[in-house]
């Protein structure tokens, strides 16, 4: 049952903890600036040691601290009631900008936005907009499309699998794009899809992956948080059983999480997007509309695992690179599912 805990994740967690402890111990006394310090908080509903979605956000928070000299804070919250509390707690202690890293925060963000007009809240993947609440939409479909191309090139069985967490539009969108990318390489490819209903349920993710592998899939992509390790582990175990199986990373560069099985990762450079968002906020450009981050800003990408590059046909590396350029140029349309209110077709 034990999934391999990535050493990087552990190191990150320890580092993070120490950094925050040190920051708290210093109490901000080491930044005697005249102008008021920028205060930025991050809310996640999962652990920042996931080497993925939450870890990327935490990295962003650390970069904001370094680049802007901001006072930063993070809280992991689990329930809607806690979301409200965290917003209130941060707002009343003078925080300016809160990154709420998941669509689950959107209702609480709107409520807090009404109550604290001075506050700005950025909801990653959110669907609701107000004057001081802005969704930050990652066009991960673009990276996922490229991942689909790579997967189609690697499969021998002609079957690829997708294991998702909660079935929400942003997650479904990545799978739709993955499928489209795969079909652009092999129109006859068979694609399996399952949502476990939980981003962090390791056991469910592993079970789902094993099921797909036993149905013939030999490349599996995920859209999970902490449970993604289970996907890699299941693929690794199939490998140990004598099959040639691959996994695809998602949300952050997971290539070195399982360098023996991950062929490449569809990445969101969340930290880059966060830093950019702070810049926009300082320029007064955050609020009232969604913020989009895509391959165009290099926030979204697909990164081959350098350790396995010799196993990938060179022509597919080339095709992925070309497709990326076309997406940036707007000449290749990646299918996606819109969900932000005010967008085309969304109430």
């Amino acid at each position: 049952m034990a999934h391999p805990f990535p050493t990087r994740g552990a190191r990150t967690a320890a580092l993070v903890a120490l950094t925050v402890a040190a920051a708290t111990a210093c109490g901000g006394g080491d930044a005697p600036e005249a102008e008021p310090t920028l205060r930025v908080a991050l809310l996640t509903s999962g652990p920042v040691s996931d080497a993925g979605w939450y870890a990327g956000a935490y990295e962003g928070l650390m970069r904001i601290e370094q680049q802007f000299g901001a006072q930063v804070s993070h809280q992991q919250t689990a329930t809607p009631a806690e979301f409200d509390e965290a917003f209130i707690a941060y707002a009343t202690s003078g925080y300016d900008l809160i990154f709420a890293h998941g669509n689950e925060y959107q209702d609480a963000a709107i409520r807090a936005g009404e109550r604290f007009p001075e506050l700005t809240i950025v909801v990653s993947g959110g669907g609701r907009v107000s004057g001081n609440v802005a969704p930050l939409i990652f066009r991960l479909e673009e990276g996922s499309y490229l991942a689909g191309m790579a997967a189609a090139a690697m499969t021998e069985s002609g079957i690829v699998g997708m294991v998702g967490g909660v079935e929400i539009p942003p997650a479904r969108g990545t799978f739709v794009a993955f499928e489209a990318g795969a079909r652009s390489v092999d129109p006859d490819i068979e694609v399996l899809e399952v949502f476990t209903g939980d981003w962090n349920d390791v056991a469910a993710a592993k079970e789902a992956t094993v099921a797909q592998l036993s149905r013939g899939a030999d490349v599996v992509i995920h859209n999970l948080d902490a449970a993604s390790f289970a996907v890699f582990q299941a693929v690794r175990e199939a490998r140990a059983a004598g099959r040639t199986t691959w996994a695809v990373g998602m949300n952050s560069d997971q290539n070195d999480v399982a360098p023996d099985v991950i062929i490449g990762s569809a990445v969101i450079r969340i930290a880059d997007a966060f830093v950019e968002t702070v810049r926009m906020w300082q320029a007064g450009e955050v609020g009232g509309a969604a913020i989009y981050a895509s391959t165009r800003q290099d926030v979204i990408d697909f990164v081959f695992n350098p350790e396995l590059l010799d196993r990938v046909p060179p022509e597919i590396v080339q095709r992925v690179s070309e497709a990326r350029d076309m997406i940036r140029a707007g000449t290749l349309d990646v299918p996606r599912i819109e969900f932000v209110e005010g967008e085309a077709g969304v109430r």
């Binding site: 903890a17 689990a78 329930t79 009631a81 509390e85 965290a86 707690a89």
Partner: protein
């Protein structure tokens, strides 16, 4: 006082839970400090953050600690009542979700009604759904003799998944995008108890219920019968000619109803919509809340507040002292262990938790 008839009777129960609670808190604090030091954190900074985040200001205390204590008090009362009758209802979590689903359903459907009708309707729906969630384990216990510990735990999973299904299916928001319901009607929401804060009248409901339950248990005949059956089903049957089965059925259902109310109050008072992860495990924490209170309803009011403060302070420890969330879970687990350990010590040679037997004459 509540216990006019035989005042001394209270004396033995009044201080014992307090001593146990203080012991548990002290023990937990000590172990917690050691753990923090081992992790390289400053226990004093953590303690300061905890205090600031729970009782640091009036706003924090009212809008966070008190609001958070409401579901803990309600589920704690549900567990205390059941345990008092010897019903080991571990299913408050599932009953809470059932209540939350029903409350959200009524709150969404009853948009046209005025608040004076809709709010009671929402709460009644939550009560009924919680009780309904207890029916199956109750029947299995009474008719088939299947222990309710297992069945109520299983019903928790059913309840949690039922709520998940509802927000993905029948009750999903009209946009059909996210796994949550639309916001319930304004008229279905609990009015604020203190204007300008998040505190809603659900807190008053919980406090009154705790008071009423105390009076009921200690002054009424039915309450006395419940205590007798819980203390000794054999003696209740033989010496009291009490129908233990009826008491059991009643307490099981009422316990479920109160736990369901906790879910309804949370939806109508705080979240105003149904979500998958509505509860962080209140129904389980409730067991510690109830045991720490010595199963006394007024004690539950106190321990519910204590746990509310603990949970509120835990958030502040993350925010202000940078203590990771996992540690919070450790603290809660420590409290529960300390409580259970001390509770067991108190009654050495007492009953084994799940192995209780109904005193039945004839039957079968």
């Amino acid at each position: 006082m509540v216990d006019g008839g035989a005042g001394g009777r209270f004396a033995r129960t009044r201080w014992e839970p307090v001593a146990i609670s203080l012991g548990a808190i002290g023990l937990t604090g000590l172990v917690g400090a050691v753990l923090l030091l081992a992790g390289g954190f400053d226990p004093l900074a953590a303690a300061a953050a905890m205090v600031r985040g729970s009782v640091g200001s009036w706003d924090v205390f009212v809008s966070i600690t008190l609001v958070r204590s409401v579901p803990l008090i309600l589920t704690g009362l549900a567990v205390a009542l059941a345990f008092r009758a010897g019903v080991w209802n571990i299913g408050a979590e599932g009953q809470l979700y059932a209540g939350a689903v029903a409350a959200a359903g009524v709150g969404l459907a009853g948009g046209g009604l005025p608040a004076v009708l809709l709010v009671p309707a929402v709460l009644c729906a939550a009560l009924a759904a919680g009780a309904a969630w207890a029916v199956l384990p109750m029947l299995m216990r009474v008719r088939l003799g299947v222990g309710e510990v297992i069945t109520t735990i299983l019903m928790n999973f059913v309840g949690i998944h039922m709520a998940a299904y509802m927000v993905h299916g029948p009750l999903q928001e009209s946009r059909g995008v996210f796994p949550q319901t639309d916001a319930i009607a304004e008229a279905a929401r609990l009015p604020p108890l203190l204007p300008g804060t998040r505190l809603h009248v659900g807190f008053a409901v919980a406090a009154l219920l705790a008071l009423g339950m105390t009076v009921f248990l200690h002054r009424s005949r039915a309450g006395f019968r419940i205590r007798a059956v819980g203390a000794s089903p054999e003696a209740a049957h033989v010496s009291g000619r009490i129908d233990a089965r009826r008491v059991l059925v009643g307490c099981f259902l009422v316990s479920g109803a109160v736990a369901g109310l906790a879910g309804g109050v949370e939806v109508a008072g705080v979240t105003h919509a149904l979500y998958e992860d509505l509860s962080p495990g209140w129904g389980y924490t409730a067991i510690a809340v109830a045991l720490l209170a010595g199963l006394e309803p007024l004690g539950v009011l106190v321990t519910g507040l204590l746990f509310g403060a603990l949970q509120a302070g835990a958030g502040a420890m993350q925010r202000d002292a940078g203590i990771p969330a996992a540690w919070v879970g450790v603290v809660e687990a420590l409290v529960i262990l300390a409580v259970l350990g001390l509770d067991r010590l108190r009654r050495t040679g007492g009953r084994v938790l799940p192995g209780i037997r109904i005193g039945g004459g004839g039957g079968a």
